[in-house]
Subunit: 307 residues, 2 copies
């Protein structure tokens, strides 16, 4: 089969189906509601959102395939300069397709997870793959964090042993809330603009990329299984609201997917499904010495060797 | 008295004192807690925050006076180009002082309010005044909205009849959540880079600017008095969370004060005190036909002639 946009789109929709099934089974109470949408400039998507499940408070598994005039900021970023290449892409069009997932669980003992895999091409022949999975536990469980990173490392190592160390560092740097000097969570892997690489063909990288997508459901349902029945109290719920507040700060201030979506006139409700049902901010909140909250905060740092 | 940075700073601290007193009296239960802070690059501030009052759930009245190397984005914005003048400000330093207020009330029947007045100068002699007041009712009460705009118009008209129409439009355009196609609230007035103007001296504009600051306490305490004893239910509280979610979106995605603060390594807790104690996001929420929520949403538009 030819590896073209139609193949990749169809594969992603299939992945979306499988992940929704697995999450509905793990939740055991609620189901995903679907909307199909289209955008004026070209393309559209299939949004699947679950609210008020037994395990999942708010979660989205979103497929989209959009096209249009290539947005300016792509070139800005690439040139590492504000305007140097801004004039060179007149008439260029893009096509982008991907699956994006954010799950906010009910329980503060179950981690928030995010996964995204995306394919991008332009009318000048440029194409690349991007993606990543990262985990944001409200309370870091070392054993789970290690296991999570080991699963991602195994996916990477199977295709290219250079990938895990590089993409783990990339995630540390990407999922970083600079103004808080905190990572969003324990990271994971992140990669972008992957095409030919270390002698690997585009097709070989596509195989890696697909396995990242396929890793999501087994990894997250296992983390749900391990943590969903743990007891929690009001202190834990308040901390969950504050950690969700940080999640909101990251997504609205730093996240490039959010920026890309808003700048390309994407569907707002799909882009902002990443925001939790509720989040909170207390002024100048300080965790107590020796508390589990402090322990987690101390591990929201770049460069921890979880695997 | 010479109008210099020391005079303006001292006047602003005085204003902060008066506003805090008026708000404590209006709240009747809680008081402001103060922190003084300084920043490495120069200057600091005096933060005053109230949490969990009878009327005010979370509110900050923040004074700051900071200085340092003039940040790049000031020049970008001015030149209306990304990099044209970026090289011309080597060695320039800035001084900025202001009072910033955001009040999130407990009751969904009491509006959120924001006020900011700021003075900015650079070592090349450039100086200007900026500021504004805007109101974000969870439920728009037409009579209050009209009264609020009339108070601001009266302050403007006393100094320059051109100001209210211009600064009201500026507020409509500034406090706009582009991705939602909604204004943040009912607007108010907003102005920036005010110096000489229509034959007015800097000192004359300073007099206007001071009256904007002095208008805050009587205007907001009156709006509290009118609305604080109104009954509300769970539907109203849920709607308040969603409106606060929009407030968070505006402040983190669009607000220039937030951007300036984060980019100049300002004190994060002071900058982000604008965020509410709790906010919420429901996926693809639609107001019901004929509901008070729909009625409010229909008035979150630019160009309404409230005064």
């Amino acid at each position: 089969m030819e590896v073209n946009r139609e193949h990749i789109s169809a594969w992603l929709q299939n992945l979306q189906d499988g992940i929704c099934q697995a999450l509905e089974q793990a939740d055991g109470r609620s189901t995903f509601k679907e909307e199909q949408w289209s955008r004026e400039e070209g393309g559209g998507g299939r949004s699947r959102v679950m609210e008020n499940g037994a395990v999942i408070e708010k979660g989205g598994v979103m497929f989209s395939a959009v096209s249009g005039k290539a947005p300016d900021f792509l070139f800005k970023e690439r040139a590492h300069s504000d305007s140097a290449q801004a004039g060179n892409h007149e008439g260029l069009t893009f096509f982008a397709t991907g699956v994006s997932i954010v799950i906010h669980p009910q329980s503060p003992m179950v981690p928030i997870i995010h996964m995204n895999i995306r394919y991008f091409e332009m009318s000048n022949g440029t194409r690349w793959l991007g993606g990543g999975i990262d985990l944001t536990p409200h309370y870091i469980v070392d054993e789970d964090a290690t296991w999570f990173h080991q699963q991602l490392k195994a996916v990477c190592d199977k295709h290219n042993p250079a990938y895990y160390p590089e993409f783990k560092t990339w995630a540390d740097n990407y999922f970083y809330i600079a103004h808080r000097k905190e990572t969003r969570g324990i990271g994971g892997i992140f990669f972008d603009r992957l095409n030919l690489r270390d002698g690997m063909s585009f097709e070989q990288n596509l195989a890696f990329w697909k396995e990242v997508g396929e890793a999501f459901a087994p990894v997250y349902t296992e983390l749900i299984r391990r943590n969903k029945d743990k007891a929690f109290d009001e202190t834990n719920k308040q901390w969950q609201l504050l950690r969700r507040g940080r999640y909101v700060e990251f997504n609205l201030v730093y996240d490039k997917g959010t920026k890309f979506g808003l700048e390309t006139n994407g569907r707002v409700e799909s882009i902002l499904m990443s925001l939790p049902a509720q989040a909170g901010w207390l002024y100048d909140y300080k965790t107590a010495e020796g508390s589990p909250e402090r322990e987690t905060l101390n591990k929201l740092k770049k460069g921890l060797a979880w695997a």
